[in-house]
């Protein structure tokens, strides 16, 4: 082995390739973010790169687009809606999944294998498969063999509909991942708690839940970003009434709709929508990646 010989990847050319890749991945954001700080008429009049080249950008940069989109266009309301959708949509499925995972990992009961197979089997169902009947269920209720299980509720456009839609879609994976995680915990700890007379509920809250924080955090980060960034479910269940929009559907409406060439609003709106995911991503990167890799097996 001759160590003196420079490896090909240490050569400037491969570094150059990497830098070029990084730049080309950054380039799409750059023009977009720059345009979000430019007045609407300049965005249309001069391209963003020319405005940088001739220095116009530095004199005209403004936050006016942001205040316009947040307050005049009411993106702030959509922003609040997004939180009201995504926080419970993260907590509800995780709680239910954690309880179920505890039972799968630590309680012996009849039909455990079948129940687990059912839960895991649900992972192959793409959400498109249940979207429309679920929407009808939230609106008109569910009737099974002539017996109304759920009455007519008219839940469309309420937060509850979105929470439980996301709960259904997120549960199989959450249960699967958390069960895996809890199976890794020492069984003896749980058994000794049982001998000491602790109930399942106490063992769950005082012992298993604290020990599973890492697994829960991984899935929670993943689920939160998934729900916050989701457009399809929000669009279907919350609808397009202005007061019901979430950030993604609001930005989608700006981008697709008849706003003509309101690129100063499209850019600033989209940039605002990206702030929360990026904060979550950079502060919880490790958890997010772990949750994402776990999620690679979902249907």
């Amino acid at each position: 082995m001759n160590l003196e010989k420079q490896k090909w990847y240490d050569k400037p050319v491969s570094k150059f390739i990497l830098i070029m890749i990084a730049l080309s991945w950054m380039l799409p954001y750059i023009g977009f973010v720059i345009s979000s700080f430019r007045p609407g008429d300049s965005v249309k009049r001069v391209s963003w790169w020319s405005s940088i080249a001739n220095g116009e950008f530095f004199s005209e940069a403004t936050l006016a687009n942001y205040s316009e989109i947040l307050f005049a266009e009411n993106l702030s309301r959509s922003f609040l809606n997004s939180f009201a959708v995504s926080i419970p949509s993260t907590i509800i499925p995780i709680t239910i999944a954690a309880f179920a995972a505890y039972a799968f990992a630590f309680i012996d009961f009849k039909g455990k294998e079948i129940a687990f197979l059912f839960v895991v089997g649900m992972m192959i169902i793409p959400l498109q498969m249940s979207l429309i009947p679920l929407l009808k269920l939230m609106k008109g209720g569910a009737i099974l063999f002539g017996i109304p299980i759920i009455p007519e509720l008219n839940l469309n456009g309420t937060f509850v509909a979105v929470w439980f839609a996301h709960t259904g879609f997120g549960l199989p994976l959450a249960t699967f991942l958390l069960r895996d995680f809890m199976m890794g915990l020492p069984r003896s700890v749980v058994e000794s708690a049982k001998i000491d007379g602790a109930s399942h509920l106490v063992t769950f809250f005082k012992l298993v839940l604290p020990l599973s924080v890492a697994g829960i955090a991984a899935f929670a980060t993943f689920q939160f970003l998934w729900v916050y960034n989701d457009f399809l479910v929000a669009n279907v269940f919350m609808g397009i009434k202005p007061e019901n929009l979430v950030v993604t559907s609001h930005v989608a409406q700006l981008t697709v709709g008849n706003y003509g060439e309101a690129w100063h609003l499209r850019t600033s709106g989209a940039v605002i929508s990206m702030v929360v995911p990026l904060i979550v991503f950079f502060s919880l990167q490790r958890f997010f990646v772990r949750g994402l890799i776990g999620g690679a097996v979902k249907g």
């Binding site: 990497l18 309880f99 979207l131 399942h200 994402l292």
Partner: protein
């Protein structure tokens, strides 16, 4: 004694029905109706605050309530009830919000297009013969081939190169991974801005058209430009003979708008194949590749790091070059990881919705199955057809997931 046993049994079953059946249902209905009413009367900001607080804590009430009810049962039979309490809500929600709707969709797909009466496989016939559906299926196949393979190849290259960086590895990876954190809607908006087209003589603000019109010279040898007024007051623009015209990239079915393809010989099969490439579809695929390469990179780079360094060193001692090490050691070693990424990408592409919906709304031959499914539902009220498209997505997903599950199982057993 016997009597006692019977009444005990009745009590346990009564409590089971109450705790695991009625209570969760009442809990759900109460929460649903409460929020429906609150939505009507409360101002948005208070509603949001209440939604976050109640929505996140109400779920615990469900379990505490069940626990309280189970407390009334005889101690000896509580273990089984507790199992039901822990597992019940998960099964209940999955059945009601996922399984039951999926079965309904299957059933709905066999009804006529408006979902009124049973017609058998008529919708499926439509799905494979309708001219728009044919294009959608073609697009979906193109997306599968191009996006899945590009993400895997780019992810491998970037993951492999980044792994060798001495400094800045995590910074570099963060840049590539960032699009994965933001929404597909945001990413689509970003790329729509890059592909933006404005009819001449307006200034081109999209990067691609802007660069396009700024290059070259007109027939008099004067520079073309993107509507710039120079310091001498001279206007440089592209609305002159010889300057390149901007192209509405997302409105192009094929490449025939490009001047170099304008007068080609149709008998040349390779050229006519290239001309007929659906350029707008490819440009939309790039958005997805941009978004998911980071995911592939992270997964691959973790797998590459897990390769024992002795194996690679042994290869180096035997005099294998970097390329040889990559192809005959690294690639075989991470084969199962590549399959996982391929599965994930296949499923993601089949469910891809946001990109097409936000950029072109599925018009001009860019549509995909997931968008069509929603269109049939919300635009045309064709519940039956919409369900059929959903079932098609489902059928494509099943083999991928099942194969992957079998593989994962083999690995855990061996």
């Amino acid at each position: 004694m016997n009597n006692n046993k019977l009444s005990d049994k009745l009590l346990v079953n009564g409590i089971r029905l109450l705790a695991l059946g009625f209570f969760p249902l009442i809990w759900f209905l109460f929460q649903a109706i409460l929020f429906r009413e609150l939505t009507e009367i409360l101002p948005r900001s208070i509603l949001v605050l209440l939604a976050i607080l109640i929505g996140s804590s109400f779920i615990f009430l469900l379990y505490f309530g069940m626990n309280w009810l189970i407390g009334f049962a005889p101690k000896i039979s509580q273990e089984g009830l507790f199992a039901g309490m822990f597992i019940g809500p998960a099964l209940f929600m999955l059945s009601l919000f996922l399984f039951y709707p999926a079965i309904r969709t299957l059933y709905l797909s066999l009804q006529d297009r408006y979902g009124r009466e049973y017609v058998g496989f008529e919708n499926y016939m439509w799905a494979f013969t309708d001219s728009e559906m044919k294009i959608i299926i073609r697009n979906q196949i193109l997306w599968l081939i191009f996006v899945v393979s590009s993400v895997i190849i780019l992810g491998l290259v970037v993951g492999w190169l980044a792994d060798k960086l001495k400094r800045g590895e995590s910074f570099f990876k963060s840049i590539i991974f960032m699009p994965m954190a933001i929404s597909a809607v945001g990413s689509s908006a970003i790329f729509k801005f890059i592909y933006e087209y404005r009819p001449p003589p307006l200034t081109q603000i999209g990067l691609i058209n802007g660069l396009r019109v700024s290059t070259g010279e007109d027939i008099n040898g004067k520079e073309c430009g993107n509507n710039i007024i120079t310091e001498t007051g001279e206007k440089i623009d592209y609305i002159r003979e010889g300057c390149l015209k901007p192209i509405g990239w997302l409105q192009q079915r094929d490449l025939s708008a490009l001047p170099s393809f304008r007068n080609i010989d149709n008998s040349d099969s390779i050229l006519s194949f290239i001309v007929n490439l659906p350029i707008s579809t490819f440009l939309l695929m790039i958005v997805m590749v941009w978004m998911f390469t980071g995911f592939a990179m992270v997964v691959f780079s973790a797998a590459i790091k897990a390769i024992p360094s002795e194996i690679i060193e042994a290869g180096q001692i035997d005099g294998a070059g970097e390329g040889k090490i990559f192809f005959s050691i690294v690639l075989p070693y991470i084969k199962s990881t590549i399959i996982v990424v391929a599965t994930y990408m296949t499923v993601s592409v089949l469910k891809a919705f946001d990109i097409v919906y936000v950029t072109t709304r599925g018009d001009l031959e860019t549509n995909l199955l997931a968008v069509k499914m929603l269109d049939e539902f919300s635009k045309f009220r064709h519940y039956g057809r919409s369900a059929t498209v959903a079932v098609l997505i489902f059928i494509c997903v099943i083999p991928v997931i099942v194969l992957n599950a079998i593989k994962a199982r083999e690995e855990t057993q061996s």
